[in-house]
């Protein structure tokens, strides 16, 4: 215990600086807006290890660098994948819509198995969950996408609603949006090596530290990455529209008695509507939180809805009150009538800097294929720590400012945090604030208390 005696005399010369190296000092003049670079960005299947410092150390300058990282990560993770999940260098992103790199990563259901069984090794093709009814198993083709969450985080109804039971997301066709969470190989390996996939294994863990990226030694390593995706079930018209990145998925609805929901699985075409990509980098041990959305999701509050139609917003009147889920009970198997479809608006507008960058990357994507589905996705923003932890072990090296004073303070995805998009500390959507509360189920610490899980709620699913 570090005791303080009464009226202590402090030695002002021995002050530890929390959070390690302070980012570059403020420049004398800070440029308010980012001037787009004359050259179009190069599209690459390489995941960036960290930001590329563009020389302007101001908040805006660094935000730009992180946004570029977000876009480059988006390009790399959505690169067409070979059957083994590796990016296929022989084709450019967007030439045609194809399965992406991240889609072959491990989904939560493959990691946290009944009875705490060890997950099958990296690279094993996805198989249907053991405890599935035969009818569902019959539909499942190994390696395909399985969507078993009607919400970003799981809850009592085995994954059925949005974060913290705030409500489901229902699109303008009346169908419930579905969600998945996958992790990359370094993160998966760390979970396996530290036996964090089971309660029993967690009971031997005294801390959780996922790997950070490293640029050297060459060729470098990416850090732990998690991806959360939201998908909507496409109508025939939407399938034909060419506006979505699509995939064939088994959409599985787990059964429940209260609310009464029947077990169901359907083979459907789903379209990507939201994508969180979170990378733990050497320079940002609190992870870099990048979030992208489909451009048709919803209008911004206070702006005139200009698109012909939106995924989660109706221009018809009277419209339901914005950002409110319909009354319970919720049944994801239903096609809900128009008055029960949600009316989502974006509360925090996308800033001009992000818009400019979006234009730039979309232009580059458009050069590959003017009809590329990726033209319909935009960066909302990137959250990053302005006071990053000194080492990859955030709990130890950032004991006071655990979340490293993130910028921007609030960031949400209208499909993933639809109902908490405000600006109130600790309750409105802020990736890091919310994930700072994430814990394991148990640990090796005294009384087996749940411990900080390095910003992921996934470990709570261990059985």
């Amino acid at each position: 215990m570090s005791l303080l005696t009464s009226c202590p005399e402090r030695d002002s010369t021995t002050k530890a600086t929390p959070g390690g190296p302070t980012p570059t000092p403020q420049p004398a003049v800070s440029t308010a807006s980012v001037s787009p670079r004359p050259l179009l960005p190069v599209l690459s299947s390489d995941i960036p290890f960290d930001i590329t410092f563009s020389g302007d150390g101001s908040l805006e300058g660094l935000q730009h660098d992180f946004d570029v990282l977000s876009w480059n990560t988006f390009i790399a993770l959505n690169w067409p994948a070979k059957p083994n999940g590796q990016p296929d260098p022989s084709i450019q992103i967007g030439t045609k819509d194809a399965p992406t790199v991240w889609q072959s990563w491990k989904e939560a259901y493959e990691i946290f198995l009944p009875g705490g069984a060890p997950p099958s090794p990296w690279g094993t093709l996805r198989t249907a969950p053991e405890n599935w009814p035969p009818a569902c198993k019959a539909l499942f083709k190994d390696g395909m996408t399985l969507l078993n969450q009607v919400g970003k985080t799981p809850n009592v109804l085995n994954d059925s609603t949005q974060p913290f039971k705030t409500g489901p997301l229902i699109d303008q066709n009346g169908r419930y949006a579905r969600f998945e969470i996958v992790v990359n190989e370094p993160m998966f390996d760390s979970i396996v090596a530290n036996k964090l996939y089971s309660k029993k294994g967690q009971a031997t863990a005294s801390s959780v530290v996922f790997p950070c990226s490293s640029a050297s030694p060459s060729p470098g390593n990416v850090g732990a990455i998690m991806v959360k995706a939201s998908w909507k079930i496409l109508s025939d018209e939407e399938k034909k529209s060419g506006r979505f990145h699509t995939t064939e998925a088994i959409v599985y609805t787990p059964p429940s008695s209260s609310p009464p929901v029947a077990e169901k699985c359907e083979l459907l075409t789903v379209g990507l509507v939201g994508l969180h990509m979170v990378h733990k980098t050497a320079g940002a041990p609190q992870w870099v939180w990048s979030t992208f959305e489909h451009v048709d999701n919803c209008p911004t509050e206070g702006e005139t809805p200009s698109k012909p139609r939106y995924n989660f917003f109706s221009k018809a009147s009277p419209a339901p009150s914005p950002n409110e889920p319909p009354p319970r009970p919720w049944d994801p198997n239903k096609t809900e009538p128009s008055e029960r479809r949600v009316q989502i608006v974006r509360k925090i507008p996308i800033e001009p800097a992000q818009k400019a960058l979006n234009d730039l990357f979309q232009a580059a994507l458009g050069k590959v294929n003017p009809k590329s589905v990726w033209l319909n996705y935009e960066l909302v923003s990137t959250q990053w720590p302005t006071n990053p932890a000194a080492t990859c072990d955030v709990e130890t090296s950032a004991p006071v400012d655990r979340i490293g004073t993130p910028a921007p303070q609030f960031l949400g995805n209208s499909t993933l945090e639809s109902y908490i998009q405000g600006k109130v500390p600790n309750v409105s959507s802020s990736c890091m604030e919310c994930h700072a509360n994430a814990t394991t189920y148990t640990s090796a610490r005294p009384s087996n208390i749940p411990i900080f899980s390095d910003f992921t709620y996934l470990l709570e699913r261990a059985q």
Binding site: S2, R10, N387, T405, P408, I449, P450, I451
Partner: protein, 163 residues
Amino acid sequence: MPVSLDQFVSLSSALTGVNAAQLKPALDPIGIANQYLAMINSQASKVSSTTFSALVSTFEAQVGTLGSPNKAAAFVLDDPTLGPVARSIIKMWLMGTWYDPANPGTAIQVVSSQAYKESLVWKVMQSHPMGYSMWSFGYWAQPPPAFEQFIQTSSGNSANGAN
């Protein structure tokens, strides 16, 4: 001349004992110093711009005359007109609330929810704002990190204090 942010932060640092870089970090996504300055400049503060400017210019002049920000802070705090405003500024940094300089026990407003969250008193007690913890379950069973991890004191201020 309106008071600049830098002037306000220098004054605040001398008054509160907290390093200017902590009051106004180089990378500052929150901008709490800006909010506080705006609070004083607003009608609601009940502080005239003349008094506020006088506070800052007197402080700055006394730094030159007396040779240290600490002594200059003591000087303005002793001034019957400027002292109450200076004390409200100290309390604002500590509590996130603006108090009426003419009635020191009377709060005018919590500057903002951000200000509540950023108020320094919680750091002074080596804790977190009530209602805003970024730590994990069970942290309370262990002592907190050292005081120095929470507060960087201002240079030129002797550790044991006054004047």
